[in-house]
């Protein structure tokens, strides 16, 4: 995938069939060490072109943000999404 101005823009999601909705909440940082070996069901990453956003979640589990860096890519993503 490319941005409207031709730059690489990679979006990947792994997991079973796409869910109708993502988890409605985000895990509290203090809860992360309680289950450090937790395994996600879904994994979404956005690389425009560096990995600027990456999150994981599972059925009934809150979102875990692995990476997030603000940038022009956010507006580009909205534009590409129509």
């Amino acid at each position: 995938m490319e941005t409207p101005d031709g730059l690489p823009f990679d979006i990947r999601i792994t997991g079973p069939d796409l869910p109708a909705a993502i988890a409605p909440s985000m895990i509290l940082p203090s809860d992360i060490p309680k289950d450090p070996k937790w395994r996600e069901t879904y994994h979404l990453s956005v690389a425009p072109p560096n990995v600027a956003f990456e999150m994981t979640w599972g059925p009934g589990d809150p979102l875990r943000i692995l990476n997030f860096s603000r940038g022009d890519w956010e507006a580009q993503l909205l534009e590409m999404a129509g």
Partner: protein, 336 residues
């Protein structure tokens, strides 16, 4: 003011770190298990300052008629306490951790220089130097916050490794400390990337500093020394742009195996950055830089071609191949 900046959590609260450990069937970060009393004392020091971040404010604030004079006084005190540079700007939501309410108008940044000569001594020395600089930042920010509260009569909270809610790099840029480099650290014209930060958020009226541009981002487009010397291949070719600033986002999943999952500290991307001497023209640092490049070359990494003979200074080098650096280096310790 409510923050809107996602800041990576430190230690085991970092979801990516946990996932990386899990994928390697590891339970903890080996480096953090390692005993290093001198370094651990520095960490204990900034932890001891955490309860002093905030406190009572003198009831009658002094009348600040000239914010520029007040800024100069705060800077003078910051430097006197051991800071290498002090800058100030208006606090913005993007400078504050997501969801955190900081009821202040301004932010003061203080940085402490890390002695570049330690790069030529060894991983533990660099680690200790970094943690010592962090501890000094905690001292300075705590004392400046206390001074502002107790002697000037304005609310003020210190932010340092003991506890912080400030996103460092955007503040650094706004106060004119320098420009963001390819390695993901800010490059200061006098200090290179060899410094550590502390902050104070406050209502004290101060004059604001302004961003400075001296061509670093353009230089980083072609330099590539940090990229070529990263043992984890974590520094990218490409970049994103945020508010007009190029950002080469380090691939953290590649960085962690080097910077976290070994017993030694990795500071290579900073130590190979030529801005330790390039802008300030410091001949001694340039000589040290060249000595360090020799070490990197022996280790098999790409280095600049020497144009003039390397001058050896009074810097300890542990043998012909440098500071026992079989591959990556240096003990890492989490910022907390």
């Amino acid at each position: 003011m409510i923050g809107n900046s996602w800041i990576r959590e430190q230690g085991m609260q970092d979801a990516l770190l946990c996932a990386s450990l899990r994928d390697r069937n590891m339970d903890d970060v080996p480096l953090w298990q390692r005993k290093f009393p001198a370094r651990d004392a520095m960490m204990a020091h900034w932890d001891s300052l955490t309860p002093l971040r905030d406190g009572l404010v003198k009831p009658e604030p002094v009348d600040v008629t000239d914010p520029a004079t007040m800024s100069a006084e705060i800077k003078r005190r910051g430097i006197e306490l051991g800071g290498a540079d002090v800058g100030m700007t208006a606090l913005k939501p993007e400078f504050i951790e997501l969801g955190v309410d900081l009821p202040h108008k301004n932010v003061i940044a203080v940085i402490v220089y890390e002695d570049y000569a330690q790069a030529l001594v060894g991983p533990d020395e660099v680690d200790l130097e970094a943690m010592t600089a962090y501890a000094k930042c905690a001292d300075i920010s705590t004392e400046l916050a206390r001074y502002i509260r107790e002697e000037l009569g304005y609310p003020a909270i210190a932010h340092h490794n003991g506890s912080f809610q400030i996103q460092a790099i955007p503040v650094f840029q706004e106060v004119g400390f320098g420009e963001l480099g390819r390695h993901g650290s800010l490059i200061h014209p006098e200090l290179g990337a060899n410094f550590r930060p502390g902050f104070i958020t406050t209502d004290l009226p101060v004059a604001y500093d302004t961003p400075r541009n001296f061509g670093i981002q353009d230089y980083c487009m072609t330099c590539n020394l940090c990229r070529n010397n990263c043992p984890g291949d974590a520094i990218p070719d490409d970049h994103i742009v945020t508010d007009g600033v190029k950002r080469w986002l380090t691939d953290i999943e590649k960085c962690y195996p080097i910077s976290r999952f070994r017993e030694s500290y990795c500071h290579i991307c900073v130590d190979v950055c030529p801005y330790i001497w390039k802008e300030n023209g410091d001949d001694e640092k340039r000589s040290m830089f060249r000595d360090y490049m020799k070490i990197r070359k022996v280790e098999g990494y790409k280095t600049p071609r020497a144009r003039t003979p390397i001058r050896h200074r009074n810097v300890q080098i542990n043998g012909a191949t440098g500071p026992s650096m079989p591959t990556p280096i240096r003990p890492i310790r989490r910022r907390r």
